[in-house]
């Protein structure tokens, strides 16, 4: 049993009271409480007394007694804190240049990083908005013939239904078949290039919300069509189109739904969907047996994502044997595999032939991410460097504080807090910067980036984490090392160790320059490659070539010769031709037989373009053997094939001359090669020039190519339009210029080059800021040394050399390290192109030399000033 007079009130309750009570009132009220408690113990026993005590303490917890939130009861700490703030602020103000360099460098670094991160996030966000995103897979094919293996994005008509029949885990399938259609309603008549036949399941599988109409029935009937909002507005204005008729390719379709516009971050988009059954109704048989007639993109909805996909892939050959028949019985071609691509991977996957929609490049993302990381690292190194360097100037402050009795703990708090504070400020500035800059960035790149996307807890958390880490790293040295010195040692002010960890700083500076040089060299190489692409000999003339669509209109096809004559008679027009595909579009891949050197017929899938007689001369394509198509030979209309040099190589013919006269069988037509053309880049430069067949086939022609000679292009276009309206009053005048279409193919690279160049410059800027700060620090430190050297007769140039020497050495080391890094990164990126630059070693000379020059300039500005100063000024005070 405790003695009553010794009874103590509960420590916990008392602690609570201490926590909230105003410090001025604490002592006497606590005394009152204890007095009452002691009396209660005597009168009512410990237990009751304890309760009453608790009750009293609770009742005291009210405004008037509690301390204010702002004024800490640890008043001493509070004042210390205030003082720390004051000193931190004075330090910033005293060295404005350093403060600006420090904060601006970090803010720019963080802003650049966030901007790139947003861009990368956007690229990674493709197709993820679908509710079933993880369960949708695209069926693609690896098609094998006698002499090649083709990787196609296409699949064939029966695949989707067969998968759904065979596997209960395949919940649904959607097939899309692309068509370019002539759509008209009232006065609006336009070729729509983004039109697809789609199975009615499209709205079940994908998350394309319908604004009007019923998603379950919208595409179940033949001749029904769903428009996107934009299309609905284009053809029906503000009226609702649902239930109305729309003319497509001369036939009337019923509009059964309006879909929201497809989000920009989709690997393919559509403007118009026509019910697939419209096509199936006429092609029942095809749909069952045409296992090798490709032309649709098939998507499967799987029950259990990866798991189901793995199961399907494992059984693929059995599946094919069951539905297509055994491989051994296959007639001339067979599928090696039918790979299943997860929906969300399609956008960044290596493109196959016949892709739908646009594709990003994972390599570009790697490059951008590395730049983002580089910038962040450079900015971070800077910050750590400058902060530690400057902290070493505050040794006197530290020792004075210590002499006055400040604990080491407090010093640690002071320095860490200070560096954390600055890193926070910079982070906030960085965020502010990107909020302000975002619209410009979007304008400039045409990207739909949205700052609001950054407003996620994990972004804030990682930013916070980063600034804490950075503040901590930068503060560690002053906090733990400086605070540990004996004050006397500091006042003695001799040892070198007082000037901070010089080696660490050197490593960081070298690291920064490794990154900077890598960026400069990388940027130069990217530019080189892009120059190569834009200047590469395409092998045909793309300038002033107007492409006029007629989408295979049979009237134009039948009267082609007179149409071409009428158009080429326009002054300013040189010549006119027609073709199935123009250069830049992927030609059709057609199964054919070709006679080999030894006379054997071999099956192959070969790119084929259907052209007219004037196509080859109109595009200025050179003949290397034989002749081009001619109207003088009537047989040319059906039996003549022109091939390119790649085909000669591919089929192993000894020379272009020996190729002429070889037999070709295609779609039942027997003919022979009449000529060989020089290779021309009929596809984008991302692809190699593949073997090509050209063949005359009037009913496959879809677009006119009009070569303009006049420099007054608008005037000629106006004349062509007038003539076109007279010739084909029913058809729209829809044209584009081939060189612009071609440029569009390299949009991704052009974006990349813009982004890379800007952010590389920023990175170099930040690195130079750091160098500027460090040099001025180093000069300041050696102020007296410079003075003495000058008194002893050193020249200005020798002093400048002295100071710049230590940095230049670092940059040279950095250059040596940067070369392999750049080489590695860039050669990865170059893999994307068929036409590649050789990595020019001169680039590294430029990058290294440029960096040395810039750094030297920065260093000189400061060191010359120091070297020119009168030594008296520096030596006067001791």
């Amino acid at each position: 049993m405790r003695q009553p007079d010794r009874a103590q009130p509960s420590k916990w309750i008392l602690r609570f009271f201490h926590w909230y009570c105003h410090p001025d009132y604490l002592e006497d009220i606590e005394g009152d409480l204890i007095e009452r408690y002691e009396r209660n113990v005597q009168k009512k026993g410990i237990k009751t007394a304890q309760w009453l005590f608790f009750y009293d303490v609770l009742q005291l917890f009210r405004p008037g007694i509690t301390r204010s939130l702002l004024r800490s009861n640890r008043s001493n700490h509070y004042h210390m804190f205030q003082n720390h703030f004051k000193i931190a602020w004075r330090n910033l103000i005293k060295r404005k240049l350093h403060a600006i360099i420090n904060i601006a460098g970090l803010a720019v670094g963080i802003a650049s990083f966030l901007l790139i991160a947003l861009y990368v996030f956007n690229e990674l966000s493709y197709d993820r908005y679908h509710q079933n995103a993880d369960n949708i897979y695209r069926v693609v094919e690896d098609l094998r013939t006698d002499n090649e293996l083709l990787f196609q994005a296409f699949s064939s008509l029966p695949m989707g239904p067969a998968f759904a029949d065979e596997y209960p885990d395949v919940l649904d399938f959607v097939r899309f078949r692309h068509r370019t259609t002539l759509v008209s309603n009232g006065n609006t008549k336009v070729y729509e290039g983004n039109c697809y036949l789609a199975d009615s399941s499209v709205f079940r599988v994908f998350s394309f919300p319908l604004i009007g109409g019923d998603p379950r029935t919208a595409l179940t009937e033949p001749m029904s069509v769903v428009l996107t909002e934009t299309m609905a507005h284009k053809y029906f204005g503000n009226e609702s189109p649902v239930g109305k008729n729309l003319q497509i390719d001369g036939e009337y379709y019923l509009v059964t739904g309006v879909a929201a516009d497809v989000p920009a971050n989709s690997h393919f988009t559509f403007d118009i969907l026509i019910s697939f059954i419209t096509f199936s109704a006429k092609n029942r048989q095809l749909e069952e047996v045409a296992w090798f007639l490709n032309g649709v993109h098939t998507y499967l909805l799987l029950a259990d994502g990866d798991h189901t996909a793995a199961k399907l892939s494992a059984n693929m050959s059995d599946f094919m044997t069951k539905y297509i028949g055994p491989k051994e019985d296959a007639f001339r071609m067979y599928y090696d595999d039918l790979p299943l691509q997860p929906l969300t991977s399609i956008y960044l996957a290596k493109p196959r032939t016949y892709e739908n929609g646009k594709r990003g490049s994972i390599n570009n993302l790697y490059i951008l991410s590395s730049i983002a990381l580089f910038i962040l690292l450079i900015a971070g190194f800077n910050y750590v460097n400058l902060t530690t360097a400057q902290a070493s100037r505050r040794t006197k402050e530290v020792s004075l504080r210590k002499v006055l009795g400040v604990e080491r703990k407090v010093l640690i708090h002071q320095f860490l807090g200070e560096s954390l504070m600055i890193s926070f400020i910079s982070m906030l500035l960085g965020v502010l910067l990107i909020v302000v800059l975002m619209p410009f960035f979007n304008d400039w790149l045409g990207t739909p980036l949205n700052v609001a996307r950054l407003n996620h807890w994990y972004v804030w958390l990682s930013l916070l984490g980063f600034s804490i880490l950075l503040g901590f790293l930068a503060g560690i040295y002053p906090a733990f090392v400086l605070s540990g010195f004996h004050p006397l040692l500091i006042f003695r002010r001799s040892p070198q160790s007082m000037h901070g960890n010089v080696n660490l700083r050197k490593i960081l500076v070298a690291g920064q320059f490794v990154l900077s040089i890598t960026l400069i060299a990388g940027t130069l190489l990217v530019f080189d490659q892009l120059m190569l692409i834009s200047n590469v000999k395409l092998g045909f003339e793309k300038e002033k070539m107007l492409k006029l669509d007629f989408n295979g209109n049979s009237n134009i096809q039948q009267h082609l010769e007179s149409v071409e004559n009428e158009l080429s008679n326009i002054p300013g027009v040189a010549s006119v031709s027609a073709a199935n595909t123009v250069p830049g579009q992927h030609p059709t891949n057609i199964f054919s037989s070709v006679e080999m050197e030894e006379g054997k017929m071999v099956e192959t899938n070969i790119n084929t373009n259907f052209v007219d007689h004037t196509f080859i001369p109109n595009y200025g394509i050179k003949i290397v053997a034989g002749r081009a198509f001619s109207r003088d030979f009537t047989a040319d209309d059906s039996t003549a094939f022109v091939i390119n040099e790649s085909a000669v190589k591919h089929f192993g013919w000894a020379s272009p001359e020996t190729a002429v006269g070889r037999a070709v069988v295609q779609r039942g037509k027997e003919g022979k090669v009449i000529g060989v053309v020089q290779d021309f880049h009929y596809n984008s430069l991302h692809y190699e020039v593949e073997p090509l067949l050209m063949h005359i086939s009037t009913d496959a022609l879809r677009a006119l190519s009009i070569k303009i000679t006049s420099d007054n292009i608008p005037a000629v276009v106006a004349k062509i339009e007038k003539q076109w309206k007279a010739l084909a009053p029913d058809l729209p005048f829809q044209y584009s210029f081939l060189d612009q279409d071609y440029d569009y193919l390299y949009q991704a690279e052009q974006h990349l080059s813009k982004v890379v160049s800007v952010f590389s410059s920023l990175a170099i800027f930040v690195a130079c800021l750091g160098l500027l700060g460090l040099t001025s620090f180093s000069v300041e430190r050696r102020f007296k040394e410079i003075g003495i050297r000058k008194v002893l007769g050193a020249s200005v140039s020798s002093v400048v050399f002295l100071i710049s020497n230590e940095f230049i050495k670092l940059i040279l080391i950095a250059l040596i390290l940067a070369i392999p890094i750049t080489y590695f990164v860039i050669s990865g990126w170059l893999e994307n192109f068929s036409q590649r630059i050789a990595i020019n070693p001169f680039v590294f000379v430029i990058a290294g030399g440029g960096t040395v020059l810039i750094a030297w300039l920065v260093i000189s500005v400061i060191s010359i000033k120091a070297a020119q100063a009168n030594p008296v000024d520096s030596l006067r005070n001791e």
Partner: protein
């Protein structure tokens, strides 16, 4: 309105402090009030009022000597200032004036 305004509890606390003359610290005031007025007073409400009155200048306080009791904590003794005295007198005068103004007939019949 006069410039001083005392709440009822405030007035009682001040009067008690005056009664205890020089010996008015927390618990003593509580005890005094409890015994004289027969009402429960919590330390919380008392202390709030004491501090408020001190801030207004009606009361002043100083620490006493530390003793073995009360866990070694000093007592804070309150005294009424002149200003406080004025306020109390004014309150009393106002009350009296009101009492005097009541016509005799009003309270004559229960």
């Amino acid at each position: 309105m006069s410039k001083h305004h005392l709440g009822e509890f405030e007035e009682i606390v001040m009067l008690t402090v005056a009664i205890l003359h020089g010996n008015a610290y927390g618990i003593a005031i509580v005890d005094e009030m409890e015994s004289r007025l027969n009402r429960k007073v919590s330390i919380g409400s008392l202390q709030t009022v004491l501090r408020r009155l001190e801030k207004k200048g009606y009361l002043t306080s100083e620490f006493g000597e530390a003793t073995q009791l009360r866990g070694g904590k000093r007592k804070r003794f309150f005294t009424v200032t002149n200003f406080g005295k004025q306020a109390l007198e004014e309150a009393k005068d106002q009350r009296l004036a009101l009492w005097n103004a009541i016509p005799a007939i009003a309270f004559s019949n229960p």
